[in-house]
């Protein structure tokens, strides 16, 4: 089979990691990692935040020494032989390692001098790199003034300066628009064809599928090493999609997840995607599909399905959080409404003339690359920023007039959990309950509910800073929903968390929406957009699309073409760029 052919020959491997352990004080960051990295291949280092990806890359770059175990790169040790190895390794850290006050060419010159490239060769190398990264027209521009995508390319150019044999990229795709991300994949393809070993660390599981080999990390351990198809093949015939249903797929998902044998399920637009365990449950699913007038079809397994399977399956479809809620009725059709919303910082418009309305009981997603204006729009809707022009209303209240009243009606979960590190988990819950005006017996019972729902018992006295990421996010959600708000704002709620916690989050969100809560969410996970009833795509401060995911994909697809959300987004961006150039 194809997989056998891909088994690496030992002479091809340029990195050998054996029994690598790395701990910081009492934290075990890497636990017994044994792997090889091959020349001429793109190796994906995949896993949720805190899985140990960055620690492993830093060990490879010689910036951290292993607690035990060993790393050999080209038969040398990255720490003790760093002076010999340093020219063989190109490393791009998470924020690209650029000097923002220096221009593109000055950054290149600095790294060329530090990597002691001969003066005679310099101009030629710069020319090649600038051409390769398409940055030639921007040579004199300061790095701080570049877009996210261009910064990332410049970071790559600097890391490629000494023509390394091993290139380490730490989350190069984060915060970059999909078009630039696609460019980067193409550049990396060229590099691996030339024989370079490239390691691409990412928390996006869909990126793993594009890699030749994958090192899948979870909680510091290696969960899988090999080609992604090898992993997904294990799920052959276990992934299904139910489509063509009339009602909303949320109820269907809940029922599907209750079937024995179904280990995972997600919403995809108007369809439900499920993964089953090895037992034969196809007939059960078929019956379920028929009962709602839909069809069941077998689909190709995705990397994420395999990861969830590896972790022992996702959570059930019941949300304990939603069950405690009373049904919300605001008696208001347009729960969130913004008209010609504009926010300018000086001459720069962060949000430019954005209008949309959100109905009660709807999940509305705001998508777009970093800097597109999502967060600014979001903050205006939560009353955290004052619009320069236009109005924003939540639950019928104008946010620029009755901020306090409106705020009591909404729950807000910030991107970086705004919890107090110096208060314990219990004190945080107590504080947020107090802030939202809960008192006495109600306050006590709500806190107890939250502790039980999110299984926080074990952590009550510890500081939120010491919680595992998944629990931090749970605590943040608990704090935002304790006062049972009819409108919930979630800013990147599942960014970087493991897929199980992500499932759990969406189960809660689905459950809450079932009770009539309106949910606004921002995300840059394209597949997560599929959970939303409608999405607004933002690009360059403007709304470039507003519709259900199915309709957006269909409108961008040619005949007989099935697009992913990401592909549709790329086409939309290109279209918008063309229109802008024409104007």
């Amino acid at each position: 089979m194809q997989n056998e052919a891909q088994v690496s020959l030992p002479e091809n491997s340029i990195v050998e990691i054996s029994a690598l352990h790395k701990s910081f004080q009492d934290l075990q960051a890497l636990c017994d990692v044994t792997a090889t990295i091959d020349a001429g291949k793109l190796t994906g280092l995949v896993g949720p935040d805190g899985a140990g990806k960055t620690t492993l890359l830093r060990c490879l770059a010689g910036l951290l020494s292993p607690t035990s175990g060993s790393i050999r790169i080209l038969q040398q040790d990255p720490v003790t032989d760093s002076s010999e190895l340093v020219e063989q390794i190109g490393y791009m850290p998470q924020r690209f390692g650029l000097y923002e006050d220096l221009s593109v060419i000055e950054n290149l010159r600095l790294y060329a001098q530090l990597r002691q490239i001969e003066t005679t060769q310099r101009d030629q190398i710069f020319e090649q790199l600038l051409e390769f990264t398409k940055l030639a027209p921007f040579q004199q521009r300061r790095a701080g003034k570049l877009s996210g995508g261009m910064k990332q390319k410049l970071g790559l150019a600097c890391a490629l300066m000494s023509r390394p044999k091993l290139l380490l990229l730490d989350e190069p795709g984060v915060g970059v628009d999909p078009v630039s991300r696609q460019d980067l994949w193409q550049m990396v393809d060229v590099l691996t064809e030339e024989g370079m070993a490239v390691v691409w660390a990412t928390a996006y599981l869909d990126e793993a599928e594009q890699c030749e080999t994958v090192l899948l990390m979870n909680e510091g351990s290696l969960a899988f090493a090999g080609s992604p198809t090898e992993l997904t093949d294990r799920l052959h015939g276990r992934s299904f999609r139910i489509s063509g249903i009339q009602n909303h797929p949320r109820e269907l998902l809940k029922e599907a997840l209750q079937l024995p044998g179904v280990i995972d399920g997600v919403i995809q637009g108007r369809a439900v995607r499920t993964v089953t365990d090895a037992t034969e449950v196809r007939t059960d699913l078929q019956n379920l599909a028929a009962s709602v007038g839909g069809q069941l079809e077998s689909v190709a397994p995705r990397f994420e399905d395999a990861f969830v399977d590896l972790l022992g399956g996702g959570p059930g479809g019941q949300s304990a959080l939603a069950e405690q809620m009373e049904t919300v009725s605001l008696g208001e059709q347009n729960v969130v409404e913004c008209r010609n919303l504009t926010k300018r910082f000086g001459s720069f418009a962060a949000t430019d003339n954005v209008s949309f309305t959100v109905n009660q009981g709807e999940i509305f997603g705001l998508l777009g690359p970093n800097g597109a204006g999502k967060s600014t729009t979001f903050k205006m809707l939560c009353g955290l920023l004052k619009p320069t022009e236009g109005t924003a209303r939540v639950a019928g209240l104008d946010l620029s007039r009755s901020t306090t009243e409106a705020k009591l009606k909404l729950g807000y979960m910030a991107q970086k959990f705004s919890l107090y590190g110096l208060l314990s988990v219990e004190q945080n819950l107590d504080f947020f309950a107090g802030v939202y005006g809960l008192t006495g017996a109600t306050k006590k019972s709500r806190i107890e509910e939250m502790v039980e729902t999110f299984q926080l018992q074990a952590y009550l006295t510890s500081s939120p800073d010491n919680l595992p990421l998944g629990f931090k996010q749970r605590l943040a959600l608990a704090c935002a929903t304790m006062h049972r708000p009819p409108v919930l704002f979630l800013d990147e709620p599942t960014s970087g968390v493991d897929p199980i916690t992500r499932r759990e989050f969406w189960t809660h969100i689905n459950g809450l929406v079932g009770k009539g809560v309106t949910v606004m969410v921002t995300t840059h996970f394209m597949d997560e957009a599929e959970y939303c009833d409608r999405i607004a795509l933002m690009y360059n401060a403007k709304l470039i699309a507003l519709d259900s995911t199915d309709n957006i994909k269909a409108s961008m697809a040619g005949p007989q073409e099935d697009l992913t959300m990401e592909q549709a987004f790329i086409r939309l961006i290109k279209q918008s760029d063309l229109q802008r150039e024409a104007a």
Binding site: G62, R95, Y99, Q116
Partner: protein
């Protein structure tokens, strides 16, 4: 040989990079050039330890010629603005409100006692809620009263005529020693704060990680940081000195050469301290707090700039020995007001050099070529 030239070219590249950043970063220029000017003007005009026309009351219990003469003598000095009253009670409210800092009570029997050749009694009351001012009022008032008595022929007798001469600062103008001291404070700020901040910024923005993954060595990175800020500090000290000389008219009795040497040596502990802070603080907020706490405040409080070290408790006096600004400010005051007194300057230079070596040594040992710890 090849290794040496590589080190040199890498260091040069880092120095170039840092210089470009300084020139383009408005906050660095603000700290280096605007802050010194603002601080010099503040110290020159806002902080003054001299008494100038302090409001005091004078209680005249009688209007005899001698009482009136003493009262007007008090009013005639440049230290007091005199508000006359008939009884102490009349001044009570104004003393409580802080309008008057004290009063001098000239008793009704002054004339008699002077005529009898007795030392007359004059009462001086001061508002001691501000002890410093109270001391000055008491001291100056006492001095003025005594001087007046000594000029009274009826009290004549063999007297010792004491004439005080104020060396090095004949007009006893506090600005003359405050300004050189202020230069010391400014240089502490630039050396320590700026270095700590820019190092923390490298960590914060992730550029340190990128630097460490190149062949650049720790020594090169440190020199690449220290040299540009050394030059910047020297420029700032030159500007501050020029302002002192030409705007505030502080005399420079020593040589420019000595001034530059002393400043250059002081930059070592100041920059070293900034680097030590950056070993601990990897973000700019903590770095600036630490720089203020460990650099600015000790330079302000423990250097002898404002507060006499000899009058501090013994334990604190020991602590002042590791405050590099103490040696620098003392050297500056010597060079500006006394001259090139090398017997004072050399030990100071030696101590600053030692502290500099200590701080730079610690930062070199603690900055590792890794992200560990």
């Amino acid at each position: 040989m090849a290794a040496n030239s590589r080190t040199a070219s890498r260091t040069l590249a880092l120095i170039q990079k840092e210089s470009l950043q300084v020139v383009r970063d408005p906050s660095a220029l603000l700290i280096a050039f605007i802050l010194p000017v603002v601080m010099l003007f503040l110290f020159a005009y806002a902080v003054s330890l001299d008494i100038q026309r302090v409001k005091i009351g004078v209680v005249l219990e009688s209007d005899t010629p001698k009482s009136v003469a003493l009262a007007s003598y008090l009013g005639g000095t440049r230290y007091f603005e005199v508000h006359p009253a008939r009884s102490a009670e009349q001044l009570g409210a104004r003393l409580v409100s802080g309008d008057l800092k004290g009063y001098v009570l000239i008793p009704g029997n002054l004339e008699q006692r002077v005529a009898q050749g007795n030392q007359p009694l004059v009462q001086i009351i001061t508002d001691a809620s501000q002890p410093n001012t109270a001391n000055f009022v008491a001291g100056y008032a006492q001095g003025a009263v005594q001087r007046w008595f000594s000029e009274q022929p009826s009290l004549a007798g063999p007297r010792i005529n004491i004439e005080a001469r104020y060396w090095y600062n004949p007009s006893i103008d506090s600005r003359q020693f405050l300004i050189p001291g202020a230069i010391g404070i400014i240089m502490t700020m630039i050396g320590t704060l700026l270095t700590a901040l820019v190092m923390a910024r490298e960590w914060e923005r992730g550029t340190m990680e990128a630097l460490l993954s190149t062949p650049a060595r720790v020594n090169e990175i440190i020199i690449g940081k220290v040299l540009p800020y050394f030059v910047l500090g020297m420029l700032a000290s030159t500007i501050a000195s020029l302002i002192s000389l030409f705007v505030f008219g502080i005399p420079l009795r020593g040589s420019l050469f000595a001034l530059l040497i002393v400043s250059a040596v002081f930059m070592l502990p100041a920059l070293g301290q900034g680097l030590v802070i950056s070993v601990v603080a990897k973000n700019q907020f903590i770095a600036s707090q630490l720089a203020l706490l460990s650099g600015f405040l000790p330079a302000f409080l423990l250097s002898g700039f404002l507060f006499e070290i000899d009058s501090m408790p013994q334990v604190i006096q020991y602590i002042t020995n590791v405050v590099a600004a103490k040696y620098y400010i003392s050297s500056l005051q010597t060079i500006f007001l006394v001259g090139d007194e090398w017997s004072t300057l050399l030990p100071n230079v030696l101590y600053m050099g030692l502290l500099g070596a200590l701080f730079l040594g610690i930062s070199r040992l603690k900055t590792r070529r890794s992200l560990e710890g």
